[in-house]
Point group: C2
Chain length 431, copies 2
C-alpha cells in the first residue's frame, strides 16, 4: 500500500529519513504563522477543502482551472478540491460580512490541491498561510499586509539579507498596456506573458509578446525602469515609517499569475535566488462582487505563503529548531508489585500538568530506561522498597549519574518545582 503520488505523510520526530516530512516541523510553521497573525490582530477562519467547481470557473484565469483536482460526486455535482483559498474566503465573506465591523482581518491555514502532470518531486498539495483584509480601500491596508508578510518571515529568523518583497502594480501594468495600444480583451494574456518572463525561454516570451503586438525589449525596458508609481508611493512610505524599507523594493518584473488582481501585487523571494517565490499576494477589489453576483461590494487584499518552499528555505539556512520529542517524566515500573502505585503516580503527575509516560507492560528496567531516553524524558522515576520496608521514589535526570530519593507523596510537588527551575523564564511567560 503506497500513498498517492504528490501527497505527503507527516511523521513524528525523528522522521525515518531526511527526505520525510516532519509533523513537528509543520506544527512549528503553523504556530509561527498563528502567532504573527495574532500580533497583527487577524482572526482565524476556515472553509471546506471541497467546493463547487463553479466557484473557480467563475473567477480564475485558465491557468488554475486546467490544474484543478476536480470530479463529479455521487450526487452528480461538479466539485473540486480547493486549489487556493481566496474564492472560499470571498464566498464566506459575501455570505456573512454584515455581522462584522470593517475592515475584516482574517487568516487561515488551508491545505490546497492542484492536479498537475506528474513531475518528479512536484507536489499535488501544500499548506498555505492565507491572510486578507476586507473592506479597506486605503493603501494603508496594502502596507499592513506587506508588513505582516515581512514580520512573518522575520519570525522564523529570516532577515533583510535573506529575502526581499518585490512590489509591483497591476494598475501600472494596465496603464502601460493601454498606452502602447494593447487590445483590451487580451490584457490578461499580456499579464500572463509578463508573469512567465522569468520562468520561460527568451524565445517563448518574445513570441508571446509579438502575438500581442509588443516587443520583448519594450517590456524589459519598462520593467528595468521600475519607478515608484503613484499608487505604490504611500505603501513604501508607510513601510519606511515602520522601519521595514530594507525588506521591499519596487520591481515591475512581478505581476502575479491570477486574473483577479486589481492593484498593488507583490512576491517574496530569497535573495540568493535558489527557490521559487516564498509568498505572493495583492489587491483584488472586484472579486467579492463577482462571487456574490453583485450583492456585496468590498475592496480586498491578501497574500498566501506555502509550507513547502518556506520549509526548504529554513532548512537550508539552519533555521528549523530542534524538534525532538520532549517529555517531563518517565516512570519506570521495575517491580510489578508496584504497578498499581506507579499508575497512581502517573495519573497524579498528569493531572498536575506534567507530561508523563511509563512502562506500559512488564519489561526489563534497561529496556524501559532506553525508551525513556528516546522519548526525551527530563526525569525518570521509579518506586523501590527502602531497607526500612517503606516505599521510596528514586528520581534521576538522565543526563546525571546521581539519583535522589524522595517520599512518593512528595512526587508531584518535587517534579513541578524542578521543572519550574529548569525551564526558568519560559514558565514565567518571558519566552
Amino acid at each position: 500500500m503506497e500513498r498517492l503520488p504528490g501527497f505527503r505523510d507527516f511523521y513524528p520526530e525523528p522522521p525515518p529519513a531526511p527526505s520525510v516530512w516532519s509533523a513537528a516541523a509543520r506544527a512549528f510553521l503553523f504556530a509561527k504563522w498563528r502567532e504573527t497573525a495574532r500580533l497583527y490582530g487577524f482572526q482565524e477562519y476556515d472553509g471546506p477543502p471541497l467546493e463547487s467547481l463553479d466557484l473557480y470557473k467563475l473567477k480564475s484565469g485558465g491557468e488554475i482551472v486546467r490544474q484543478l483536482y476536480n470530479f463529479t460526486d455521487k450526487g452528480g455535482r461538479e466539485v473540486a478540491l480547493r486549489p487556493e483559498m481566496t474564492p472560499t474566503l470571498a464566498r464566506m465573506v459575501a455570505a456573512a460580512e454584515r455581522g462584522y465591523k470593517k475592515p475584516l482581518k482574517w487568516f487561515s491555514i488551508p491545505q490546497l490541491f492542484r492536479y498537475e502532470r506528474q513531475q518528479k518531486g512536484r507536489l499535488r498539495e501544500h499548506f498555505q498561510f492565507n491572510a486578507d483584509i476586507l473592506g479597506e480601500r486605503d493603501p494603508g491596508a496594502d502596507a499592513e499586509m506587506i508588513a505582516l508578510l515581512i514580520d512573518t518571515l522575520r519570525a522564523f529568523g529570516l532577515e533583510a539579507a535573506d529575502f526581499v518583497i518585490r512590489l509591483s502594480s497591476r494598475q501600472v501594468w494596465e496603464a502601460f498596456y493601454r498606452r502602447r495600444g494593447g487590445d483590451e480583451a487580451r490584457a490578461y494574456e499580456f499579464f500572463q506573458a509578463v508573469d512567465k518572463l522569468e520562468r520561460e525561454s527568451e524565445e517563448a516570451s518574445a513570441k508571446r509578446f509579438e502575438e500581442l503586438g509588443f516587443k520583448l525589449d519594450q517590456v524589459r525596458d519598462f520593467i528595468e525602469s521600475s519607478e515608484v508609481s503613484e499608487d505604490l508611493a504611500p505603501i513604501m512610505e508607510q513601510l519606511a515609517a515602520r522601519g521595514l524599507q530594507d525588506f521591499v523594493r519596487v520591481d515591475y518584473g512581478v505581476i502575479r499569475g491570477l486574473a483577479y488582481y486589481t492593484g498593488p501585487v507583490y512576491e517574496a523571494f530569497d535573495r540568493q535566488g535558489k527557490f521559487r517565490a516564498i509568498a505572493g499576494g495583492g489587491r483584488y477589489d472586484n472579486l467579492i462582487a463577482l462571487i456574490s453576483r453583485g450583492k456585496v461590494r468590498l475592496p480586498a487584499l491578501g497574500f498566501g505563503m506555502g509550507d513547502v518552499v518556506l520549509t526548504e528555505l529554513l532548512k537550508e539556512r539552519g533555521l528549523l529548531p530542534n524538534l525532538q520529542p520532549v517529555l517531563d517524566v518517565f516512570v519506570l515500573v521495575e517491580d510489578e508489585a508496584f504497578r498499581a502505585e506507579s499508575l497512581r503516580l502517573v495519573q497524579g503527575l498528569r493531572e498536575a500538568g506534567v507530561a508523563t509516560d511509563y512502562g506500559l507492560a512488564p519489561a526489563k528496567s534497561d529496556r524501559q530506561y532506553k525508551l525513556a531516553l528516546s522519548r526525551g524524558a527530563r526525569f525518570t522515576l521509579r518506586l523501590v522498597s527502602a531497607p526500612d520496608g517503606r516505599v521510596r521514589l528514586k528520581v534521576k535526570k538522565p543526563a546525571q549519574r546521581t539519583e535522589e530519593e524522595i517520599k512518593p507523596v512528595d512526587a508531584v510537588d518535587f517534579i513541578k518545582n524542578q521543572l519550574q527551575l529548569e525551564k526558568g523564564p519560559s514558565l514565567r511567560g518571558e519566552e
Copy 2:
C-alpha cells in the same frame, strides 16, 4: 455561490448566527486534544486527505465502503477522501516503524469524509482526534488508551456524572457466537447486528438475528449479564488504580461497527443519552499485517473522537468558554500628522510581542474607538500634542473612564508591564 451540502465553514468570533460553526471553538477543541495527548506522551502525525481506494477496500466492512467519497482522478487512479484515519496510520507505520522505539504512541487530528445520502443536518465531514498505541499486546496499553479518552473529556470539564465509557470485548462476543453454533463466515454480520441493536427497531434486529440462527432474547440476555471477562479484568483493575473506575463500566451492548477490531472495544456516551457516541475505539491487532501484506506485524489499538458531537455536548453543558477575540492594544490615529509615528509605535509593540491593531486608514476617532472595542482591545493608545508642543501618548482601558498620559518612548515597557499585571498568574505558567 453556496458551499456544498454537508460541509462546514468556520467563522471568526462572533459567528454571524448561533448555528454557524466557530473557528475559535474548533481551535479550543484542537488545543485541548493536543494538550492531553502531550500529557500522555503521544506524538503528532498526519497523512494525506486523499488515499487509494484500495486502502479502504482491503480492510473495511461493507458499511464504510458504501459511504466512501470516492472518484477516479485525472490519472485514472481510484481514490477516496479518507473516511477514517486508521488505514492511513497502518500504512504509515508499516512503512516506517523500524525507525521508532516501541510502543509507538501517536495521535492526529484529521478531517474525515463520508458520502452519505443527504439527510437534514447530517454532515459529510468532521474532524476527529485519533490516538493509537502500536507495538504493545499487554492490556496495560488498553487501560492507557481508555485513561487518555477519559482525561481528554475531563480536560473539557466533563465529569463522571456527564459521561461513561462502555467497555466490551470482541473476544467475548466471538466466544459467545462460536459457543452458540454461529457460522464462522458470517460472524461479522452478527457483530453488525449487535452494533445496530440500539439504533434499529426491535423487529429489524429480530429479523437480522433470526437469519443468523439466533434469537433476539438470547442476545439481549447475554448483553444484560455483562460480567467482567478475563480480558477486561486487568483493564478495569488498572483504571481503578488510577482512580478512574467511576468513568467506565463493562457493557456488551457495545461492539463497534468496523470489521477490524480483535479485542477490547469501547464507546463513550453522555449519561443523559441525548447524543450519539462521543468517541469509540478498540484493539485491532491484525490490521498492520493486512495493510502491509504480512510484512509488518504489530499489535495496535486506538480511539477516535469527533468534533461534532463533542461540540454539541459542550455547548449543551455550558462548557465552551468565552471565545471573543482578544487584542492587547488598539492605536487610534486621530491626527494624520501622527500617522508615521503611530506606525512606528504599532511596529514597536508588535516586535515586543504585544498583539496590536490600529486605524488602517483616516477615519473619525469615534469609529476607530468602536472598532477597537469590537476587537476586544485591552488598551487604546493615541498620540496627541501636549500644550508644551511635545508629543504625548494617551493610554486608556476601554472599561475605565480615565486616561493616563505617558511619553511615547515608554509605551512598550508601560504596556508590557500592564499586561503582565493584568494576566497575573497565567503569565507565570500557573494557568
